[in-house]
């Protein structure tokens, strides 16, 4: 349940220790994307036939915007103006960030991407659903497993079988209703 560890004020907007540093890094990344834009933009070729401002101008414009806005953000952050984290019906602003769950979810998405080709989409999708539901705290495991398998098969049937989206069927190859 909601064991509030960091921000006793309960507003959710007061920063947990360390967040301004994260935000600062993010703002610096915004600046560096702009810098990369200038550096890499220098090598864009402008064909002699170009009758307009050419393919370089707009990327430079955007890169300049990134550098300017990023710098503005850094200044704002150094003066203490931190961002307000997004709210949501399912978001509890009073609890500390659960990095472990975020990491597990990202891991399962990554695993999923490696399973699609060798095992087929249905199995990869079932693994993703099962793993994500488990990471988010769904129990018992067999109900998660059954839900995962049913969902994967239904999606494979609807998208590949009915709508003709070419999802690799894996072990279901050969069953007409499951292949796109």
């Amino acid at each position: 349940m909601s064991t509030s560890t960091s921000s006793p004020a309960g507003s959710g907007t007061t920063a947990a220790p360390g967040r301004p540093i994260g935000e600062l890094i993010f703002a610096l990344i915004v600046i560096s994307v702009g810098v990369v834009g200038f550096v890499a933009g220098a090598s864009i070729q402008t064909p002699p036939s170009a009758s307009d401002i050419g393919p370089k101008a707009f990327p430079y414009l955007v890169s300049g915007m990134l550098v300017l806005v990023g710098t503005g953000l850094v200044i704002q952050l150094l003066r203490g103006g931190t961002g307000v984290p997004e709210e949501g019906e399912d978001v509890d602003p009073n609890i500390a960030t659960d990095w472990a769950t975020v990491g597990k979810l990202a891991g399962f998405v990554l695993l999923h991407s490696f399973l699609i080709v060798p095992l087929g989409w249905p199995i990869a999708a079932a693994v993703l659903f099962f793993g994500a539901a488990w990471s988010l705290g769904a129990r018992p495991w067999f109900r998660n497993l059954i839900t995962a398998i049913v969902l994967a098969l239904v999606l494979q049937f609807v998208f590949a079988g009915l709508l003709g989206v070419s999802l690799p069927a894996g072990f279901l190859e050969g069953f007409g209703v499951f292949s796109g």
């Binding site: 933009g41 401002i53 307000v84 997004e86 019906e89 399912d90 509890d92 659960d98 975020v102 988010l136």
Partner: protein, 581 residues
């Protein structure tokens, strides 16, 4: 008349089924937290591979309208402590529900949405062809001006921080430049990778930011424990008493009048429409009813919900006539058109009139279906609201992976999805709105083309960009919009702070803190007297854009901008903001 031909198409049984499917899915995703219409349209983009354009567009339009209805159910019935206070308009319905009047709140929201949606669709049918006829005459310079307005209002007015919105917009524009330049075929920012040669697909970015970013963010702070849904009882025909009808019909109409123009102009989107409606209802209420505001006044549900739906129809005016999306969902609709190689712009009404009128006709039909789905059948949605959250977010991830994989049928896209999803996670965490990024990504290439065409005509002279009379008017209007928006934002936060303060006092009452004895009189007196000055200016708000619209060209000038995420479900609490533009 072409609208009748549109009805002839939309009334075919097959298209009725597609419309029904669309509004069902739309209502479901509107009800569910963490998932909204923009994300759903993005996820269902694979439909464009197998359905013909009319069918797919009707499905997506159904999702768009359905999402608007579903959102209100959530904000009225879902009891999430400490969160809903952020949006004043979501609060009256929730307060009514807690006081046992949830049924009346649901009914006034559904009927109001239907009435406003229908009137606004009629307005759309009549206004859009005229705007299109006017828009055909404007050139690239004016387009550039319109898109600058769209970018700045989407970027700066959406979300709580101007700089963060602009950063999000710039990141989207940057991604848009990756890949081949469409005019000279030069590679830009591909870093020698064949995967980047075609750029990063819009659908991939949208799904990653909306779906994966959201799932990761919610997972990091998931609210545990049972999902508290306030029960609704009794037959739906008795939900609204006579008095409820008497108190609702005027707010419905006023909400429509406020919502539609605000939807078509760049003033910050449906959030602004709902807020303006709420503020004017609160101002117009008298005596005992005024004291109900903040505690469950039916006018505070009826007006904003109507304004929300009217704004949704208004958003379609700039989308269909200029090709400029002003909300996230509208941007995804534009992508759907692009998938079919249908150019969206002033020519749409001429070149693809059958499709456009079928779409508009399906909106009338969809509205009627939604009224049925949301009154007698509201029980279904209450059940959907109770889906265990681990399953909901696991399912969202599976759908996102499906959508990403089906872009090019390569697992690499799923990895790019994850990377962009992590970006979306940090953006939410640090208060960056994600919608401007998606709008920037979609409008970026169109903007660049128009900009280069303008400068090619003027032989590189940038002064040409502001010297056209229409463009100059558009820029002046932009400045006015900005001034108005900042002023309105101040008003809004003042009103929100005040209402929240009222609520906190109420809570003190309930829990019997030492202050409880003094509280009953206190908050009320504060609420009424304090509010009047704070809100007094607001009813003027709607008049201002209206006046500006009298200037030729000004109306379309505004059009492009309303991006706030809100358009899909403005009144329905924070969900809107997520997908805002």
């Amino acid at each position: 008349m072409s609208l009748l031909e549109g009805f002839a198409v939309a009334a075919q049984p097959m298209y009725l089924l597609f419309a029904l499917g669309g509004v069902l899915v739309g209502t479901a995703v509107g009800v569910l937290p963490g998932i909204g219409p923009a994300m759903t349209v993005a996820l269902l983009m694979p439909l464009t591979y197998s359905l013909e354009p009319t069918a797919a567009i009707i499905v997506f339009a159904g999702i768009y309208y359905g999402g608007m209805y579903g959102g209100s159910t959530t904000s009225i019935l879902l009891n999430t402590p400490g969160e809903s206070s952020s949006i004043v308009t979501a609060l009256e319905g929730n307060r009514m529900a807690k006081a046992g009047r949830g049924a009346a709140a649901l009914a006034t929201a559904a009927v109001g949405s239907f009435i406003a949606g229908t009137i606004a669709t009629v307005l759309l049918s009549f206004v859009a062809p005229y705007v299109a006829a006017f828009a055909v005459q404007i050139g690239p310079v004016e387009y550039v001006a319109l898109m600058v307005v769209a970018f700045l209002t989407v970027g700066a007015l959406l979300g709580s921080s101007v700089l963060r919105g602009l950063a999000s917009l710039a990141l989207g524009l940057f991604i848009a430049t990756m890949g081949f330049d469409s005019l000279t075929a030069q590679q830009r920012y591909t870093f020698g990778s064949p995967f980047l040669a075609d750029g990063i697909d819009v659908v991939l970015v949208a799904v990653a930011l909306f779906a994966v970013g959201e799932a990761l963010y919610v997972a990091s702070r998931l609210r545990h424990g049972p999902i508290k849904v306030i029960p609704v009882t009794g037959g739906w025909t008795k939900w609204m008493r006579k008095e409820d009808w008497r108190r609702s019909w005027r707010p419905w109409l006023r909400g429509t009048v406020i919502g539609f123009p605000v939807g078509t102009i760049p003033a910050g989107g449906a959030d602004v429409a709902t807020f303006l409606s709420y503020a004017s209802e609160r101002k117009l209420a008298k005596g005992a009813r005024k004291k109900q505001f903040g505690k469950g006044a039916i006018e505070g549900v009826a007006g904003p919900e109507a304004a929300n739906n009217a704004a949704a129809a208004g958003v379609l005016v700039p989308l269909l006539t200029l090709g400029i999306p002003t909300t996230a969902t509208a941007a995804m609709l534009l992508v759907a058109f692009q998938r079919y190689q249908i150019p969206v712009g002033p020519q749409l009404f001429e070149n693809d009139s059958a499709l456009v009128w079928a779409l508009i006709a399906s909106l009338y039909v969809g509205n009627l279906m939604l009224l049925v789905l949301n009154l007698p059948l509201v029980g279904i949605w209450v059940k959907i609201l109770q889906i265990p959250r681990p399953y909901l977010y696991a399912g969202i991830l599976v759908f996102a992976a499906l959508g990403a994989f089906s872009v090019n049928f390569t697992p690499i896209d799923v990895i790019i999805l994850l990377i962009l999803g992590i970006l979306g996670f940090f953006m939410r965490r640090f208060g960056y709105p994600v919608a401007p990024m998606v709008v920037g990504l979609i409008l970026g290439p169109i903007f660049e083309n128009q900009l280069r065409r303008s400068l090619a005509i003027s032989q590189g002279d940038p002064v040409a960009l502001v010297s056209s009379p229409i463009a100059a008017v558009i820029y002046v209007v932009l400045i006015i919009i900005f001034v108005l928006s900042f002023w309105m934002r101040k008003r809004q936060s003042a009103l929100e702070a005040e209402t929240t303060a009222d609520l906190e006092d109420d809570v003190d009452d309930g829990t019997g803190t030492p202050r409880a004895s003094a509280a009953p009189g206190g908050p009320d007196a504060d609420g009424t007297s304090g509010t009047a000055p704070a809100v007094s200016g607001d009813p003027v708000g709607p008049a201002d854009p209206g006046a500006a619209a009298g200037v030729p060209g000004a109306r379309s000038a505004h059009g492009p901008d309303t991006v706030s995420g809100g358009a899909h479900s403005g009144a329905s609490s924070t969900k809107n903001r997520k997908e805002g533009p």
